[in-house]
Protein backbone atom coordinates (compact mmCIF):
# COMPACT_ATOMS: atom_id res chain seq x y z
CA UNK A 1 0.00 0.00 0.00
CA UNK A 2 3.06 2.22 0.34
CA UNK A 3 3.32 2.23 -3.45
CA UNK A 4 -0.30 3.35 -3.77
CA UNK A 5 0.27 6.05 -1.16
CA UNK A 6 3.36 7.30 -3.02
CA UNK A 7 1.45 7.43 -6.31
CA UNK A 8 -1.34 9.57 -4.89
CA UNK A 9 1.18 11.77 -3.10
CA UNK A 10 2.60 12.84 -6.45
CA UNK A 11 -0.81 13.56 -7.95
CA UNK A 12 -2.17 10.34 -9.44
CA UNK A 13 -6.00 10.28 -9.47
CA UNK A 14 -6.70 6.72 -10.62
CA UNK A 15 -4.38 3.77 -10.08
CA UNK A 16 -4.78 0.19 -11.29
CA UNK A 17 -2.22 -2.30 -10.03
CA UNK A 18 -1.13 -5.66 -11.33
CA UNK A 19 -2.28 -8.83 -9.59
CA UNK A 20 -1.23 -12.37 -8.83
CA UNK A 21 -3.88 -14.96 -9.66
CA UNK A 22 -3.99 -17.93 -7.26
CA UNK A 23 -6.31 -20.88 -6.84
CA UNK A 24 -7.99 -22.16 -3.67
CA UNK A 25 -4.83 -24.00 -2.64
CA UNK A 26 -2.78 -20.81 -2.97
CA UNK A 27 -0.97 -22.01 -6.07
CA UNK A 28 0.11 -19.10 -8.29
CA UNK A 29 -1.56 -19.50 -11.70
CA UNK A 30 -0.28 -16.34 -13.40
CA UNK A 31 0.58 -12.71 -12.96
CA UNK A 32 -1.39 -10.01 -14.75
CA UNK A 33 -0.69 -6.33 -15.20
CA UNK A 34 -0.36 -3.51 -17.70
CA UNK A 35 1.74 -0.43 -17.95
CA UNK A 36 0.40 3.02 -18.82
CA UNK A 37 0.60 6.62 -17.69
CA UNK A 38 -2.19 8.77 -19.07
CA UNK A 39 -2.48 12.54 -18.81
CA UNK A 40 -4.92 14.74 -20.66
CA UNK A 41 -8.27 14.20 -22.40
CA UNK A 42 -6.94 13.32 -25.86
CA UNK A 43 -4.80 10.48 -24.50
CA UNK A 44 -7.71 9.27 -22.38
CA UNK A 45 -9.97 8.66 -25.38
CA UNK A 46 -7.39 6.37 -26.98
CA UNK A 47 -6.58 4.74 -23.65
CA UNK A 48 -10.29 4.12 -22.92
CA UNK A 49 -10.62 2.08 -26.09
CA UNK A 50 -7.50 0.08 -25.34
CA UNK A 51 -8.60 -0.64 -21.77
CA UNK A 52 -12.21 -1.46 -22.61
CA UNK A 53 -11.34 -3.69 -25.54
CA UNK A 54 -8.84 -5.71 -23.51
CA UNK A 55 -10.81 -5.60 -20.25
CA UNK A 56 -7.81 -4.02 -18.55
CA UNK A 57 -10.10 -2.30 -16.01
CA UNK A 58 -10.98 -5.67 -14.46
CA UNK A 59 -11.08 -6.37 -10.74
CA UNK A 60 -12.16 -3.76 -8.22
CA UNK A 61 -9.46 -4.94 -5.82
CA UNK A 62 -6.77 -3.60 -8.16
CA UNK A 63 -8.24 -0.10 -8.08
CA UNK A 64 -7.39 2.91 -5.95
CA UNK A 65 -8.99 6.19 -6.84
CA UNK A 66 -9.56 9.66 -5.44
CA UNK A 67 -12.82 9.71 -3.51
CA UNK A 68 -13.93 12.81 -5.43
CA UNK A 69 -13.83 10.78 -8.68
CA UNK A 70 -16.50 8.43 -7.30
CA UNK A 71 -18.84 11.22 -6.28
CA UNK A 72 -20.83 11.18 -9.51
CA UNK A 73 -24.48 10.30 -8.96
CA UNK A 74 -24.50 7.53 -11.56
CA UNK A 75 -21.68 5.60 -9.79
CA UNK A 76 -24.17 4.75 -7.02
CA UNK A 77 -26.30 2.94 -9.59
CA UNK A 78 -23.64 0.33 -10.27
CA UNK A 79 -24.98 -3.14 -9.56
CA UNK A 80 -22.00 -5.47 -9.99
CA UNK A 81 -19.33 -4.00 -12.28
CA UNK A 82 -17.74 -1.51 -9.91
CA UNK A 83 -14.37 -1.75 -11.67
CA UNK A 84 -15.96 -0.56 -14.94
CA UNK A 85 -17.84 2.25 -13.20
CA UNK A 86 -14.75 3.47 -11.33
CA UNK A 87 -12.68 3.43 -14.52
CA UNK A 88 -15.38 5.30 -16.46
CA UNK A 89 -15.78 7.87 -13.69
CA UNK A 90 -12.02 8.39 -13.77
CA UNK A 91 -12.12 9.03 -17.53
CA UNK A 92 -14.36 12.00 -16.82
CA UNK A 93 -12.65 13.53 -13.82
CA UNK A 94 -9.17 12.13 -13.22
CA UNK A 95 -6.21 14.09 -14.58
CA UNK A 96 -3.58 11.40 -14.16
CA UNK A 97 -4.36 7.70 -14.60
CA UNK A 98 -1.80 4.98 -14.01
CA UNK A 99 -1.73 1.31 -14.89
CA UNK A 100 1.04 -0.21 -12.80
CA UNK A 101 2.16 -3.72 -13.81
CA UNK A 102 3.60 -4.43 -10.34
CA UNK A 103 1.30 -6.93 -8.60
CA UNK A 104 0.05 -5.48 -5.32
CA UNK A 105 -3.00 -7.68 -4.86
CA UNK A 106 -3.87 -11.32 -4.90
CA UNK A 107 -6.87 -12.42 -6.96
CA UNK A 108 -8.35 -15.74 -5.92
CA UNK A 109 -9.98 -18.11 -8.41
CA UNK A 110 -12.35 -20.32 -6.45
CA UNK A 111 -15.62 -22.20 -6.64
CA UNK A 112 -17.74 -19.95 -4.42
CA UNK A 113 -19.59 -16.83 -5.35
CA UNK A 114 -21.39 -14.71 -2.76
CA UNK A 115 -21.65 -17.72 -0.49
CA UNK A 116 -22.97 -20.05 -3.19
CA UNK A 117 -21.02 -23.26 -3.83
CA UNK A 118 -20.44 -23.44 -7.57
CA UNK A 119 -18.81 -26.83 -7.77
CA UNK A 120 -21.75 -28.32 -9.67
CA UNK A 121 -22.44 -27.33 -13.28
CA UNK A 122 -26.11 -26.54 -12.65
CA UNK A 123 -25.34 -24.25 -9.71
CA UNK A 124 -22.64 -22.58 -11.76
CA UNK A 125 -25.00 -22.01 -14.69
CA UNK A 126 -27.75 -20.54 -12.51
CA UNK A 127 -25.25 -18.15 -10.92
CA UNK A 128 -23.68 -17.29 -14.28
CA UNK A 129 -27.09 -16.30 -15.64
CA UNK A 130 -27.84 -14.18 -12.59
CA UNK A 131 -24.48 -12.41 -12.69
CA UNK A 132 -24.28 -11.90 -16.44
CA UNK A 133 -27.73 -10.34 -16.39
CA UNK A 134 -26.50 -7.82 -13.79
CA UNK A 135 -23.27 -7.15 -15.70
CA UNK A 136 -25.21 -6.64 -18.93
CA UNK A 137 -27.62 -4.25 -17.29
CA UNK A 138 -24.65 -2.30 -15.81
CA UNK A 139 -23.08 -2.02 -19.28
CA UNK A 140 -26.40 -0.91 -20.83
CA UNK A 141 -26.84 1.72 -18.14
CA UNK A 142 -23.30 3.02 -18.57
CA UNK A 143 -23.74 3.16 -22.36
CA UNK A 144 -26.71 5.47 -21.78
CA UNK A 145 -24.70 7.61 -19.32
CA UNK A 146 -21.81 8.21 -21.75
CA UNK A 147 -23.93 8.71 -24.89
CA UNK A 148 -22.68 11.75 -26.78
CA UNK A 149 -19.31 11.83 -24.99
CA UNK A 150 -15.90 10.87 -26.43
CA UNK A 151 -16.14 7.56 -24.53
CA UNK A 152 -19.33 6.35 -26.18
CA UNK A 153 -17.53 4.08 -28.64
CA UNK A 154 -15.37 2.45 -25.94
CA UNK A 155 -18.34 1.66 -23.68
CA UNK A 156 -20.28 0.37 -26.68
CA UNK A 157 -17.52 -2.19 -27.02
CA UNK A 158 -18.08 -3.39 -23.45
CA UNK A 159 -21.86 -3.40 -23.89
CA UNK A 160 -21.76 -5.44 -27.11
CA UNK A 161 -19.22 -7.87 -25.62
CA UNK A 162 -21.44 -8.46 -22.58
CA UNK A 163 -24.53 -8.85 -24.75
CA UNK A 164 -22.80 -11.50 -26.85
CA UNK A 165 -21.85 -13.38 -23.67
CA UNK A 166 -25.40 -13.15 -22.37
CA UNK A 167 -26.77 -14.58 -25.61
CA UNK A 168 -24.16 -17.35 -25.48
CA UNK A 169 -25.25 -18.67 -22.06
CA UNK A 170 -27.48 -21.72 -22.54
CA UNK A 171 -31.01 -21.16 -21.29
CA UNK A 172 -30.77 -17.38 -21.00
CA UNK A 173 -34.30 -16.01 -20.56
CA UNK A 174 -35.80 -13.15 -22.54
CA UNK A 175 -35.51 -9.94 -20.58
CA UNK A 176 -38.36 -8.17 -22.32
CA UNK A 177 -36.03 -5.45 -23.59
CA UNK A 178 -35.22 -5.56 -27.33
CA UNK A 179 -31.94 -3.70 -26.66
CA UNK A 180 -30.78 -6.68 -24.59
CA UNK A 181 -32.60 -9.62 -26.14
CA UNK A 182 -31.60 -9.22 -29.75
CA UNK A 183 -28.47 -8.50 -31.71
CA UNK A 184 -29.25 -6.09 -34.54
CA UNK A 185 -27.31 -6.36 -37.84
CA UNK A 186 -25.82 -2.91 -37.17
CA UNK A 187 -24.49 -4.14 -33.83
CA UNK A 188 -22.87 -7.17 -35.46
CA UNK A 189 -21.11 -4.85 -37.91
CA UNK A 190 -20.09 -2.58 -35.06
CA UNK A 191 -18.65 -5.56 -33.16
CA UNK A 192 -16.73 -6.62 -36.26
CA UNK A 193 -15.29 -3.10 -36.43
CA UNK A 194 -13.53 -3.91 -33.14
CA UNK A 195 -11.63 -6.74 -34.82
CA UNK A 196 -8.28 -4.85 -34.85
CA UNK A 197 -8.32 -4.93 -31.03
CA UNK A 198 -8.50 -8.71 -31.16
CA UNK A 199 -5.72 -9.26 -33.68
CA UNK A 200 -3.84 -11.44 -31.19
CA UNK A 201 -6.99 -13.24 -30.07
CA UNK A 202 -8.71 -14.12 -33.31
CA UNK A 203 -10.01 -17.47 -32.06
CA UNK A 204 -11.61 -15.77 -29.10
CA UNK A 205 -13.13 -13.12 -31.37
CA UNK A 206 -14.60 -15.78 -33.66
CA UNK A 207 -16.05 -17.51 -30.61
CA UNK A 208 -17.83 -14.33 -29.47
CA UNK A 209 -19.67 -14.25 -32.81
CA UNK A 210 -20.31 -17.95 -33.07
CA UNK A 211 -21.37 -18.86 -29.52
CA UNK A 212 -24.66 -16.88 -29.44
CA UNK A 213 -25.98 -18.64 -32.54
CA UNK A 214 -25.10 -22.21 -31.52
CA UNK A 215 -27.99 -24.61 -30.84
CA UNK A 216 -28.85 -24.98 -27.15
CA UNK A 217 -27.25 -28.45 -26.81
CA UNK A 218 -23.95 -27.22 -28.23
CA UNK A 219 -23.97 -24.11 -26.06
CA UNK A 220 -24.49 -26.35 -23.04
CA UNK A 221 -21.70 -28.72 -24.01
CA UNK A 222 -19.29 -25.82 -24.57
CA UNK A 223 -20.28 -24.17 -21.28
CA UNK A 224 -19.71 -27.47 -19.47
CA UNK A 225 -16.23 -27.84 -20.94
CA UNK A 226 -15.29 -24.31 -19.86
CA UNK A 227 -16.80 -24.89 -16.41
CA UNK A 228 -14.85 -28.12 -15.88
CA UNK A 229 -11.60 -26.52 -16.96
CA UNK A 230 -12.17 -23.52 -14.65
CA UNK A 231 -13.10 -25.78 -11.74
CA UNK A 232 -9.94 -27.84 -12.20
CA UNK A 233 -7.93 -24.63 -12.17
CA UNK A 234 -9.74 -23.32 -9.07
CA UNK A 235 -9.33 -26.38 -6.90
CA UNK A 236 -5.86 -27.13 -8.19
Amino acid sequence: MERVYAAFRIGVDYYHNGRVVVNEAGKVLRKEGHSALIKGDKEKVRYALQVMSQSMFHNSSSISVRKSVLEKDWVKNCDLSFDLFAFTAALFSAHVMVDDPIPLTLFRVHSQHAGVDLSSFEAHLTEALKNQRRVLSDAAYLASVVRGTPYEYAIKHVFLGQKLWWLAIPGHPHLGDPRLDMLRPGEILEWISFLPYFRYHLRYFAMTLLAPILPHALKRAAAKLVFESNLRQAIG
Binding site: V20, S60, S64, K67, A86, Q112, A114, G115, V116
Partner: protein, 107 residues
Protein backbone atom coordinates in the same frame (compact mmCIF):
# COMPACT_ATOMS: atom_id res chain seq x y z
CA UNK B 1 3.27 17.10 -5.32
CA UNK B 2 -0.17 17.26 -3.73
CA UNK B 3 -1.22 17.24 -0.08
CA UNK B 4 -0.44 14.04 1.82
CA UNK B 5 -3.26 11.63 1.08
CA UNK B 6 -5.20 9.50 3.54
CA UNK B 7 -6.40 6.15 2.24
CA UNK B 8 -9.69 4.45 3.06
CA UNK B 9 -9.56 0.75 2.23
CA UNK B 10 -13.11 -0.43 1.56
CA UNK B 11 -13.64 -4.19 1.88
CA UNK B 12 -17.01 -5.44 0.61
CA UNK B 13 -18.55 -8.84 1.37
CA UNK B 14 -21.87 -10.40 0.48
CA UNK B 15 -22.86 -13.67 2.21
CA UNK B 16 -19.35 -15.13 2.04
CA UNK B 17 -17.44 -15.28 5.33
CA UNK B 18 -14.64 -17.68 4.44
CA UNK B 19 -12.04 -15.24 3.13
CA UNK B 20 -13.07 -11.97 4.77
CA UNK B 21 -10.64 -11.93 7.70
CA UNK B 22 -7.78 -12.84 5.36
CA UNK B 23 -8.60 -9.80 3.24
CA UNK B 24 -8.82 -7.51 6.28
CA UNK B 25 -5.59 -8.83 7.82
CA UNK B 26 -3.78 -8.35 4.52
CA UNK B 27 -4.77 -4.68 4.61
CA UNK B 28 -3.81 -4.26 8.27
CA UNK B 29 -0.42 -5.95 7.80
CA UNK B 30 0.86 -3.46 5.25
CA UNK B 31 4.03 -1.47 5.95
CA UNK B 32 2.26 1.86 5.50
CA UNK B 33 1.88 3.47 8.96
CA UNK B 34 -1.63 2.86 10.30
CA UNK B 35 -2.31 6.55 10.83
CA UNK B 36 -2.17 7.04 7.05
CA UNK B 37 -5.04 4.71 6.29
CA UNK B 38 -8.23 3.20 7.66
CA UNK B 39 -10.04 -0.03 6.88
CA UNK B 40 -13.81 -0.13 6.41
CA UNK B 41 -15.74 -3.39 6.00
CA UNK B 42 -19.24 -3.37 4.48
CA UNK B 43 -21.04 -6.70 4.72
CA UNK B 44 -24.56 -8.09 4.83
CA UNK B 45 -24.07 -10.47 7.76
CA UNK B 46 -23.17 -10.44 11.40
CA UNK B 47 -20.71 -12.98 12.78
CA UNK B 48 -19.50 -12.97 16.38
CA UNK B 49 -15.88 -13.97 15.70
CA UNK B 50 -15.45 -11.75 12.68
CA UNK B 51 -17.13 -8.73 14.27
CA UNK B 52 -15.01 -9.14 17.42
CA UNK B 53 -11.76 -9.17 15.48
CA UNK B 54 -12.81 -6.17 13.41
CA UNK B 55 -13.60 -4.24 16.58
CA UNK B 56 -10.36 -5.27 18.31
CA UNK B 57 -8.31 -4.16 15.32
CA UNK B 58 -9.99 -0.79 14.90
CA UNK B 59 -11.76 -1.62 11.65
CA UNK B 60 -14.92 0.31 10.80
CA UNK B 61 -17.63 -2.35 10.52
CA UNK B 62 -20.75 -1.46 8.52
CA UNK B 63 -23.79 -3.64 8.05
CA UNK B 64 -25.58 -3.24 4.73
CA UNK B 65 -28.42 -5.11 3.09
CA UNK B 66 -27.64 -3.54 -0.26
CA UNK B 67 -27.04 -6.28 -2.82
CA UNK B 68 -25.39 -3.93 -5.30
CA UNK B 69 -21.67 -3.25 -5.25
CA UNK B 70 -22.27 0.44 -5.96
CA UNK B 71 -24.65 0.72 -3.03
CA UNK B 72 -22.22 -0.95 -0.62
CA UNK B 73 -19.30 1.22 -1.70
CA UNK B 74 -21.49 4.32 -1.49
CA UNK B 75 -22.40 3.50 2.12
CA UNK B 76 -18.69 3.17 2.95
CA UNK B 77 -17.90 6.44 1.18
CA UNK B 78 -20.38 8.21 3.47
CA UNK B 79 -18.18 7.44 6.49
CA UNK B 80 -14.75 7.25 4.79
CA UNK B 81 -12.27 9.80 6.10
CA UNK B 82 -9.73 9.30 3.33
CA UNK B 83 -9.46 11.31 0.16
CA UNK B 84 -8.23 8.17 -1.63
CA UNK B 85 -10.20 4.93 -1.78
CA UNK B 86 -8.66 1.47 -2.25
CA UNK B 87 -11.21 -1.19 -3.00
CA UNK B 88 -10.83 -4.78 -1.85
CA UNK B 89 -13.29 -7.60 -2.42
CA UNK B 90 -13.54 -10.08 0.45
CA UNK B 91 -12.01 -12.95 -1.54
CA UNK B 92 -8.96 -10.95 -2.64
CA UNK B 93 -5.99 -9.73 -0.59
CA UNK B 94 -3.26 -7.14 -0.60
CA UNK B 95 0.08 -8.82 -1.14
CA UNK B 96 2.69 -8.27 1.55
CA UNK B 97 5.25 -5.69 0.34
CA UNK B 98 7.95 -8.34 0.72
CA UNK B 99 6.36 -10.21 -2.19
CA UNK B 100 7.73 -7.54 -4.53
CA UNK B 101 11.01 -7.19 -2.66
CA UNK B 102 9.94 -3.94 -0.96
CA UNK B 103 11.38 -3.55 2.53
CA UNK B 104 10.52 -1.27 5.41
CA UNK B 105 12.86 1.74 5.44
CA UNK B 106 15.25 1.60 8.42
CA UNK B 107 15.65 4.37 10.98
Amino acid sequence: MTADPHISVIVTAYNRKKYLLGAVRSALNQMLPRDLYEVIVVKNFRDEAIDRELEERGVVNLYSNDVSQGGKVHEALEVAKGDVVSLLEDDDEFLPESWNGFTRPSG
